[in-house]
Symmetry: C2
Subunit: 359 residues, 2 copies
């Protein structure tokens, strides 16, 4: 096999992200070498199939990925820039501009460093929870600087695509504002909700349902890791949190004003719906197929059987009714390209059905 | 079959909760009659197997469950108290004290009304999303008043247990404070997170991952329903939100103070962990079984195979390492009663393992 630029990858840090990357790159045909300050982590990751353990003396990587906790990333990047004078270096840190500034101080010549940030992880840590599918269909942000060589940027972008991620390119500062908005603030809202439970008597926790569990899931993440992320992005996070604090004060004022309150709840609903669709993809383009449900006892069960047998992936459905005609209507949301097919299929089975845009 | 007190149940409102209750009660052997202001909803629910459609003239229920939106509950309770002079009446409203006060104004003689609140639902609405398992292992709060007859309270408690719920009894006012804490405030935190997305450029939404989706899931719920819930519990919710607002102000101040910030994140983590365990149950009592992982390439994979073949349900696991001896340790959390069995089983397969309390 011809040796390509990105054949040999050294991953520094065999935690959840580093080990998962090792698994995914190995599967994609890369030769992966793993190193971790805790040698047993690299051993475990290698044992799971994420690569070979580094023996340091013979490492000669084309690409180095620094996948350690944020605080030690700049020092390691500076070290490998010097140690491997031909390698392209990237990292997986969650905040890009402060890392770049720190590297700038430690190793002023850093044009072979191309920052990046795979938007993937979990509330777990360590190589045991690694998965070769961690990056599949997720966004991997690459944050190049003007001094980076296009070929080096391309190497990192290819690596991200080779593990199934969707590459988004943006400047480091913009990236940091975006993650404050869609990751760091939601994390802190989860923390605020969960930490407020310290004020709640144990007996009242019996009433906790699925809702609060969803809202507080990410609050279970490692406090030390998140302290590093948040302190390094403090000014962007503060800006967003001050907006949230204003919203919260407004909301407290509106609690007994039904109209204003419902309007605010509607803004929340709209925000939640704006995230519907798959990770890192545009929202799915759906059409509604509406079916008339005659006034017969088993009509609906029969309709569901028919839809099921037609084998379409139903994204959502809603029941509406006509008070005067005493008829029910089932609106089924499906991807635009299959809507007509579903409609035809249902009509063939004897139903009245039509399709159109979602209300 | 002998006619028991709770044989015939009339459910008013065939939405998600009413229809699910009809499915569950029918399965438990009750004779269920359904009514909804939208007749097609009752038809659909009946079609799914949740009971018979009411014909109003011949209804003669032993129990009436009012499962409508909160705003119309008091009026319907007053109406059925008069219409069915021998029936026990309950409702499923999310806030109890204001409903009780409203009923008191409409029908001063209401000793046959026993308030209750099943802690179950979803972000969906309508009979199509109904499930006969909606109440299984969930908490169903019953909020009796001094004037209620013990036999009437028992009827409602039995009905809740018959659909698989775990009954918790508490006064209406206490219930309302508890739901403000574990349901209404988390809902509003989800709303604040989701509504803040209106400030976020579309391009930045590409970076949204699973975390924000979890936090904002319940914000997708029906704004009109939640407006009714929140306005009727406004004073308890305000009290809690003012505490959250203080926490938020504190948090904004600590963003660049690593120690204090990490401490606050730790409080959030502790709060999230306090909810671990199944709904309406005490947290699972777990022990840790720790296994030494020798320095061999496939040791960990082999260990996982052995644990898998032993057939235990692993709640959690963590990898630690000994820097000096270059050994890894796998700590496996399992329920206390099976820990010793797991340890023995693993030792039998040649591993060094011991068990003890979770750190």
């Amino acid at each position: 096999m011809r040796r390509t630029l990105t054949e040999n990858v050294l991953i520094l840090g065999a935690g959840l992200v580093g080990s998962s990357l090792g698994l995914a790159l190995t599967r994609a045909g890369y030769d992966v070498v793993l190193w971790d300050i805790a040698a047993s982590h690299a051993l475990v990751a290698a044992g799971l199939g994420a690569g070979r353990v580094s023996d340091e003396s013979t490492d000669n990587p084309d690409v180095v990925v620094v996948a350690t906790p944020p605080d030690v990333i700049p020092g390691l990047v500076a070290e490998v820039l010097e140690k491997f004078p031909d390698a392209v270096i990237t990292d997986v840190g969650s905040v890009k501009a402060p890392i770049l500034r720190a590297i700038d101080r430690l190793a002023p010549e850093h044009r072979r460093y191309v920052g990046s940030h795979p938007m993937a992880g979990s509330q777990f840590t360590g190589p045991l929870t690694a998965s070769g599918d961690l990056f599949r269909d997720r966004t991997w942000v690459v944050t190049p600087e003007p001094e980076n060589a296009p070929a080096d940027i391309a190497v990192i972008e290819k690596l991200a695509r080779d593990v199934g991620a969707r590459v988004v390119t943006m400047p480091a500062a913009e990236h940091d504002v975006a993650v404050a908005q869609v990751s760091h603030v939601p994390h802190l809202m989860s923390i605020l909700t969960a930490s407020h439970l310290r004020q709640v008597p144990q007996d009242n926790l019996q009433l906790a349902g699925q809702g609060i569990r969803d809202v507080t899931r990410i609050a279970g993440s490692d406090p030390s890791m998140w302290r590093q992320i948040l302190t390094s992005n403090a000014s962007a996070v503060r800006h967003e949190l001050l907006e949230v604090a204003q919203d919260l004060a407004f909301l407290i004022d509106q609690l007994e004003r039904p109209e204003q309150l419902e309007k605010f709840l509607g803004m929340g609903q709209a925000g939640a719906l704006s995230l519907v669709g798959k990770h890192g993809q545009d929202p799915i383009d759906v059409l509604e197929v509406t079916v008339e449900i005659p006034d017969e006892p088993r009509a609906l069960a029969r309709l569901f059987t028919d839809i099921g047998e037609a084998g379409f992936n139903v994204e959502d459905f809603e029941l509406t009714h006509d008070q005067i005609r005493q008829l029910g209507y089932l609106s089924i949301s499906v991807e635009r390209e299959v809507a007509e097919q579903l409609r035809a299929n249902i009509v063939e089975r004897g139903w009245h059905a039509w399709s159109g845009s979602r209300k």
